[in-house]
């Protein structure tokens, strides 16, 4: 997936390009913080270093779109790096929601209790 800088994002916004699929535009303000995280490490770090208010803001905005997002995304064939940019961005937002929900739904605080911040994520190998 191509990484865009925040200047690119601003440029596309001002020229009217669509950053997210139709119907998901209300999530655009969250792209800069939560839509450009590409790995589990990056998501975990962002969660740990955010305030509860930041996490709650994103969670409240994004969680109502969970079902709708996958109804939309699953109309595309599944595989790595084959989603169009705006769908890939939506998927990254939802992956961030999976991480942020641990703080909001489970712990009621940004981090795992009794754990130094930032806690280094373990290495994860998927096979």
């Amino acid at each position: 997936m191509k990484h865009e800088s925040s200047t690119d994002i601003k440029k596309r916004q001002s020229s009217g390009g669509s950053l997210l699929p139709e119907g998901f535009q209300s999530l655009e303000p969250f792209i800069e913080k939560w839509g450009e995280l590409y790995t589990a490490d990056e998501r975990y770090y962002a969660r740990q270093t955010s305030t509860m208010e930041e996490l709650q803001l994103f969670y409240s905005a994004a969680s109502p779109f969970l079902n709708q997002s996958f109804e939309h995304l699953d109309t595309f064939s599944f595989g790595e790096d084959i989603l169009p940019d705006s769908q890939a961005r939506l998927l990254r937002l939802m992956f961030s929601l999976a991480e942020v929900s641990q703080a909001i739904e489970i712990f009621g605080q940004p981090t795992v209790p009794h754990t130094p911040i930032p806690h280094k994520a373990p290495t994860i190998e998927i096979f």
Binding site: A40, R43, Y44, Y59, S63, P64, L66, N67, F70, L73, D74, F76, F78, L91, M94, F95, L97, A98, E99, S101, Q102, E105, I106, F107, G108, V112, P113, H114, T115, H119, K120, A121, P122, T123, I124, E125, I126, F127
Partner: protein, 410 residues
């Protein structure tokens, strides 16, 4: 509670004393003494069969894996050689001790030392050395790679540092090897492996993964609701079985628990059946559950059999999936924990990929709850004021494990 139901309960959750495990503490020095740590490495790890992976890690002839085995101070190569045989070697060139392999896995018919180009075939024979006329004192057939003994059980590969171990793998596994033979694990080929270094003695994490007493407290926001029931609020393990130095228990799940939070509910409803809380499903999808060795006490709300292979490998057999935890000592106050979680299928849609991402995050957080406690315990032991760590009647596995270790190192 009536007398009969109390008796029934005591039968289901036997006390440590029922197994003659009467010592209710371990000396704190077992977690802080460099001498005891060294004794564990030499008397336990260097004298045990150690699990280093699974046959499915070596899918083809010439496949190899390269693995760190800290208590042996070694990195080893496990390879399916060109003659089809499984072999294990120290990852050490016979010339001047440089490691031959960096990659964690791959395929190779030979291993070439990056330093001076000595080359070995994948049966471990020295095949060539540049400027060989300058090494008249090296006879190739005497300078193959140093091997370890290797054998398999249920597809798990075990090594032993002795060329002729005093007991075979099957003898080492004993009763446990028989009770759990022919487990249907082969079809579980997808999943993920989590690996992390922790600043604590390895036994703290073994302890955390062999008792349920802490679940309603430490994991009160994570595992509690899924495991604690009105009948068994303190999550006693069912039916502890001690087999040689190994031990097994059965754990129950609270099937009345239904997630209510939006994202958790979505993820768990999509996640593969191995991780879901459903007891339904076709028998062929529940094949681990139907193995005769699993859940011998026939608990209806079965969650897993927790199989602890001494000294450092735990296999959790669930209804239709499994995972392995390995606890590797590195130093008296440092360990590596590796967890591999298997499922029969890989994600086939974006929502399934989301569920996998969710399970990885929540699994990591649960292990972090345990590792954070272990690290803090280790810190507090550095004060020197703690002389004993106490183990209750409800923690028979911990008493047994401590007893087995102390028998070997004294």
């Amino acid at each position: 509670m009536s007398k009969s139901s109390l008796q029934e309960k005591n039968k289901r959750f036997p006390k440590a004393s029922d197994f003659n495990l009467t010592q209710g503490y371990v000396d704190a020095e077992n977690y802080t003494s460099p001498d005891i740590f060294e004794a564990e490495c030499t008397e336990v790890f260097r004298k045990s069969w150690l699990c280093v992976g699974e046959l499915k890690d070596l899918p083809e002839t010439n496949s190899f894996i390269h693995k760190q085995v800290p208590p042996l101070k070694a990195s080893i190569i496990v390879v399916r050689s060109d003659d089809g045989r499984l072999r294990a070697f120290y990852n050490i060139c016979g010339h001047r001790a440089v490691p031959l392999v960096d990659d964690e896995r791959g395929k190779a018919t030979s291993f070439r030392c990056p330093y001076h180009g000595w080359v070995y075939n994948n049966r471990g024979d020295l095949r060539g050395l540049p400027c060989k006329e300058d090494f008249p004192h090296i006879k190739k057939h005497e300078h193959g790679l140093t091997s370890l003994s290797i054998d398999t059980w249920n597809g798990f590969m075990f090594v032993h540092i002795d060329a002729e171990p005093s007991e075979t793998l099957i003898e080492f596994l004993g009763e446990l090897g028989v009770a759990y033979k022919n487990l249907p694990l082969d079809k579980y080929r997808h999943g993920f492996r989590i690996k992390q270094i922790m600043g604590c003695n390895w036994k703290f994490m073994v302890n955390a993964f062999t008792e349920g007493y802490h679940l309603p407290f430490l994991h009160n926001k994570t595992l509690k609701t899924q495991t604690s029931t009105t009948d068994n609020p303190h999550v006693h393990y069912h039916d502890p079985r001690f087999m040689g130095p190994h031990f097994v228990s059965t754990l129950e799940r609270n099937y009345e628990w239904v997630p209510s939070a939006t994202v958790q509910l979505f993820a768990l409803s999509v996640a593969s059946p191995a991780h879901s809380h459903s007891t339904t499903g076709k028998n062929e999808e529940r094949d681990i559950f139907t193995h005769p060795g699993v859940n011998p006490s026939k608990i209806e709300n079965f969650m897993m059999d927790q199989v602890m292979i001494f000294p450092n490998t735990q296999i959790q057999l669930m209804i239709n999936g499994y995972l392995i935890h390995q606890f590797w000592p590195v130093a008296v106050d440092k360990m590596v924990m590796e967890t591999t979680i298997y499922s029969a299928t890989r994600p086939e849609s974006y929502r399934e990929e989301f569920a996998a991402v969710y399970m990885q995050a929540s699994g990591r957080d649960v292990v972090t709850e345990d590792s954070s406690m272990s690290i803090l315990q280790q810190k507090n032991l550095r004060t020197g004021v703690v002389k004993k760590l106490y183990i209750g009647e409800n923690e028979p596995n911990l008493r047994f494990f401590a007893q087995q270790l102390s028998k070997k190192i004294k």
